[in-house]
């Protein structure tokens, strides 16, 4: 709890500070039910549906990680495809050495988190735009290095071993569960991180970096932690991608298109809220499925929508919802409310665009 919260609470006796407003009490239960229902999908629905949902899980994981980077830590990375690719290759390498690709998945995620450390060291000196392009160069470099190893397929890639003799129905179901598990763990990890000290530091930095630094917030450490978590998360998504495609191709897994998709889904859904990427992923998947027969058009349209949203509705679709009904499914800030009254205002304001302005919010 921040100092401001405590002092305000003390000065006005009839005010209390809570994490959430009333309507959030049951969202945990609803989330649990949603996850359980989703987990039963392989028994209920056609395998075509679960295949699309696996894509959605991958995108949601990526978008949530990008949201953590750009929306909370102010790090616009255009090189997250480096981790998608590394995750896919980690699964491939472990599978070549005899591991089951599913068992390899958590190790791939951890490996990507570890790999993020030296990469962070390389780009951490740069800010904003230069950080963005530097991560892009880094992703290109990682791909060029991976392509030099012919034992893992060189420049053309190779099929993922370890599935021989596996029942295709079972394989589809396992892939689906792996995707679901990765997404649930990713969202839970982000939620818990943002509720803890890290979230507090990031919020302080967002509001005033100089003030946060001079109050002793370890800004560099917080940003590094976010980069490592995002690396692990994108790596896990890349691992699921490799499993769902049954092959690993360098130009496909290291494509900047991954970053385009995660960024567009996040921007459209709403930057700086956990709910945003969920909404954005849903919109993205619907558009993609609708426009699937028009090749690259879905990316063009989503790109244009993302530009318009970034300019005119900076809190995204979720921001529009939130502005009307003031609901937060995953509360990470604090509410200040008078006793027996509706919530008055937020102490730790929800993110309004990238620079919080009192009373702002377009």
């Amino acid at each position: 709890m921040s100092l401001a919260t405590e002092s305000t609470a003390r000065s006005a006796e009839n005010v209390r500070v809570t994490r959430s407003s009333r309507n959030v009490a049951w969202t945990g239960a609803v989330a649990l039910i949603v996850v359980v229902v989703l987990a039963m999908f392989p028994y209920i629905v056609h395998s075509g549906v679960t295949a699309i949902l696996v894509q959605a899980f991958i995108l949601l994981t990526l978008a949530s990680m990008w949201n953590l980077l750009a929306g909370y830590a102010g790090l616009v990375s255009v090189g997250q495809q480096a981790f998608v690719g590394l995750g896919a290759y980690a699964v491939l390498i472990l599978a070549i050495h005899g591991a089951s690709p599913f068992a390899a998945l958590p190790f791939a995620a951890i490996a990507c988190g570890v790999a993020a450390l030296p990469l962070w060291w390389l780009v951490s000196r740069l800010r904003t735009g230069y950080f963005a392009i530097a991560t892009w160069v880094l992703a290109a470099t990682v791909m060029l290095i991976i392509e030099k190893f012919s034992s893992i397929g060189g420049g053309t890639g190779m099929p993922l071993p370890g599935f021989t003799g596996m029942d295709p129905t079972l394989l589809t179901a396992y892939t689906y569960w792996a995707g679901l598990a990765v997404t649930v763990v990713a969202l839970a990890a982000i939620y818990l991180l943002l509720r803890g000290r890290l979230g507090l530091v990031l919020t302080a930095v967002r509001d005033d970096e100089v003030a946060a630094r001079s109050s002793g917030a370890r800004v560099g450490l917080a940003r590094m932690l976010v980069f490592l978590v995002a690396g692990a998360g994108c790596g896990a998504a890349g691992a699921v991608l490799a499993i769902s495609q049954l092959q690993v191709q360098p130009s496909a897994v290291f494509s900047v298109q991954w970053t385009a998709e995660m960024a567009f889904a996040t921007i459209i859904g709403g930057l700086g809220t956990i709910e945003g990427p969920i909404v954005g992923t849903a919109v993205f998947m619907v558009l993609q499925q609708t426009l699937a027969s028009y090749n690259a058009w879905y990316l063009i349209i989503l790109g244009l929508v993302a530009i318009v949203v970034a300019l005119f509705a900076r809190r995204g679709l979720w921001g529009l919802v939130d502005a009307r009904i003031n609901v937060r499914l995953f509360p990470v800030g604090y509410w200040l409310r008078a006793e027996e009254d509706r919530p008055r205002r937020l102490l730790t304001r929800p993110r309004r665009g990238l620079h919080a302005r009192p009373g702002g919010g377009r």
């Binding site: 230069y130 963005a132 790109g303 300019l311 665009g353 990238l354």
Partner: protein
């Protein structure tokens, strides 16, 4: 001798990379905009040149006279509308908007012109011609011309910014746009002009690249943007001389890499970039710490 040749070729191609980097450097220096669509816009310029040449059958060199002003106009309009709008919101918004533009342009080109690569056919002896120095060093006329053009553009820009009246205005606005505004300069207009100049150099870079190599929709990011950025960082932010030096260092690194193994050309350039980032983050020619 092969190594000397590699270095000479690297220096020449470095001119092209400096030309790539020029607009990126200018936009950042003046507006603090890092334009992620930079390379894609260069490819657009190249495609426009190809279109004009095939439709109205003019000589290649004339196409510059049409495409460069056209892109400059586009630069002014983009800056006054979308980019200024994004700038008024936040730096991160400009990144998201220009990244969106980049993806939209690249996929638009892919959609309308397919992934096939195409070159700007000059029909001139200039492109294929070369002269020999000594016994083994062959210098193509085209890379030499591009290098000279790059040096002239960078020198001209440096002179324009430091000596001319409007150049001073641009620098004043870049230093403190509010103060410049109070002194009667409309900074939005000045930004627009700076963007127009930057886009003019982008057009030059795109057409030059189309003549030197081949254009395809992904060249904008894979080659032009990333090489331009590497040149800017190697040379040092905020210095046009540094940009030229950075381009040359990148070009030489790539050619030496290609000497070692043909597939290592691009990787060698990026490794030098990363080495500079670690060992000398302010760049080879530093103008104090920036961003």
């Amino acid at each position: 001798m092969a190594w000397v040749n590699a270095i000479i070729q690297g220096v020449l191609i470095g001119g092209l990379y400096a030309l790539f980097a020029c607009g990126l450097s200018l936009m950042f220096g003046v507006m603090k905009v890092v334009n992620l669509a930079h390379g894609d816009l260069a490819v657009v310029a190249g495609y426009i040149a190809i279109g004009i040449i095939t439709i109205i059958h003019i000589p290649v060199l004339w196409s510059f006279l049409i495409v460069v002003p056209l892109m400059a106009l586009l630069g002014y309009v983009l800056q006054r509308t979308i980019l200024q709008g994004a700038l008024d919101r936040s730096v991160l918004t400009t990144l998201m908007v220009t990244f969106g533009l980049s993806v939209v342009i690249e996929n638009g080109l892919l959609q309308f012109f397919t992934a096939n690569s195409r070159a700007i056919g000059t029909g001139l002896a200039l492109v294929s011609g070369s002269f020999t120095v000594g016994s083994q060093i062959q210098i193509g006329y085209l890379p030499l011309v591009i290098f000279v053009v790059a040096v002239v553009v960078l020198l001209g820009l440096q002179y324009f910014l430091s000596a001319s009246k409007f150049g001073r205005l641009i620098r004043a606005v870049a230093d403190d746009k509010e103060a410049a505004q109070l002194s009667g300069a409309d900074y939005r207009h000045v930004f627009g002009i700076a963007a127009a100049i930057a886009f003019g150099t982008v057009a030059l870079a795109g057409i030059a690249y189309g003549m030197y190599s081949q254009l395809d929709p992904t060249a904008g990011t894979d080659t032009i943007l990333l090489f331009a950025f590497a040149a800017v960082v190697i040379g040092g932010l905020g210095s046009l001389w540094g940009t030229l030096l950075g381009g040359v260092v990148l070009g030489v690194a790539q050619q030496i890499g290609a000497q070692i193994s043909l597939s290592d050309e691009v990787l060698a350039g990026f490794i030098v970039f990363l080495a500079v980032l670690v060992l000398r983050p302010q760049g080879l020619i530093s103008r104090g710490a920036q961003s």
